[in-house]
Symmetry: C2
């Protein structure tokens, strides 16, 4: 595989330019793109010109570049992105309207959670996530659901690396995590109680495809102490089943 030392084929270099953009860096100049991608400015200039002509990048009034609408359009064809989200949205709306809390829909990508949809509740607890954003599998409710149903080697990879401690309640030892994952499988839902922030509790349930594989997870995130996770669990489990049915 290409590395920073061996730049690799030209398409991979163009993809490295796209990967330089992040939620924290949505707009970049040519020299910032060069620094982030590790490619010479002359190469960046040539690739950016091609990407801009096609619409994958667009130019800011200030002279920087940002991701273009054309790439958003193509990306929206990802079955695990917008396809899943379109099928799930009516049920997420129902959860949002009934509870007025934060509703989240997520999938697993490698050893991370990717949030595909989030509906913020009107009086809900602040959450750290955003649509298209990533998070550790180990801390959030949706992450625990997705990790509980992932192939065994995914858990091995997660345990092989240091686990981020967000609060004093974050599970960080293999023993604690394996116990939480076993409980998640046995009960049919996961609970993350102040494991991401000290004021939030999330309850999450698995979404299955027609083959019975867990392909996504749905969660509610509420203020810690306002409601018991066991009260929320039936709500999440029935919503997850409704979404699973809509996928088949």
């Amino acid at each position: 595989m290409p590395t920073a030392d061996r730049p690799g084929p030209v398409v991979t270099r163009a993809l490295r330019i796209l990967a330089a953009f992040t939620p924290d860096r949505p707009s970049l100049t040519l020299s910032e793109l060069s620094r982030q991608s590790g490619l010479p400015v002359s190469t960046v200039h040539r690739l950016v010109t091609e990407l801009t002509a096609w619409g994958a990048l667009e130019r800011d009034p200030a002279g920087g570049y940002h991701i273009g609408l054309r790439l958003w359009e193509v990306g929206s064809l990802a079955p695990r992105g917008l396809g899943l989200r379109e099928a799930a949205l009516p049920y997420l709306e129902d959860l949002s309207q009934v509870t007025r809390e934060n509703v989240q829909l997520a999938v697993r990508e490698g050893t991370e959670v990717v949030f595909v949809e989030r509906i913020a509740g009107s009086k809900a607890v602040p959450v750290l996530t955003r649509v298209g954003g990533r998070f550790a599998l180990t801390a959030t409710g949706v992450g625990l659901v997705l990790l509980a149903h992932a192939p065994a080697d995914v858990l091995d990879q997660v345990l092989a690396c240091p686990i981020t401690r967000y609060t004093e309640h974050t599970l960080t030892t293999p023993y604690e995590l394996r116990a939480a994952l076993a409980a998640t499988r046995a009960r049919g839902y996961a609970v993350s109680d102040r494991q991401v922030t000290t004021d939030a509790l999330s309850v999450a349930a698995p979404i299955h495809n027609a083959q019975g594989d867990v392909v996504a997870a749905v969660s509610l995130v509420v203020h810690h102490g306002t409601v018991s996770p066991h009260t929320l669990a039936p709500l999440l489990r029935t919503s997850a089943r409704a979404i699973s049915r809509a996928l088949t």
Copy 2:
């Protein structure tokens, strides 16, 4: 610019592979990709391998390819896609909950409308649009708003090509269109009355950025005959102003 006869640089060829995927063709085999992109199978194979390694494409169980979650994640950084949508969503939800009708958010890309968000009403009229989908500027309410506030050369380009007639009410002559666009600017909203389908009416209003430019449009699509457009107009105009304020 590269054409089918002159394949052009390698990045442009890779982008042609991505552009082969459409809402009607979300999954393609190597030979279908070759046919759609006009590139030899050997070239397609090499580029698809690179795109898949990075996550821009993913492999189906059946052996075809579809757009990958990684490309969806990068695409979600487009300010005119997800950024706009995140700012607008609470107001779109309000419109949806109050009216129970179809709510749409759209931007202009060249001479077409691109739908950035759509919330389907529970008992609403069927609509032809989808998130990430395109439509003619001339037929829909959002299209008329965006065309009314586009640079003059955009209207020239639209009028230089045949205008699709969806129903007997679709505006197709330069005279009719110019009159509708002038009315849209004067009133502050557009009406598309059975101009897309014979049973739907849409009312749309412009969304402005901090510089006062029209950057998007919001609409309600209702059954024709159930409500007067003039009743809906204040609702759309205030919602559009609320979204405009959220963008600044």
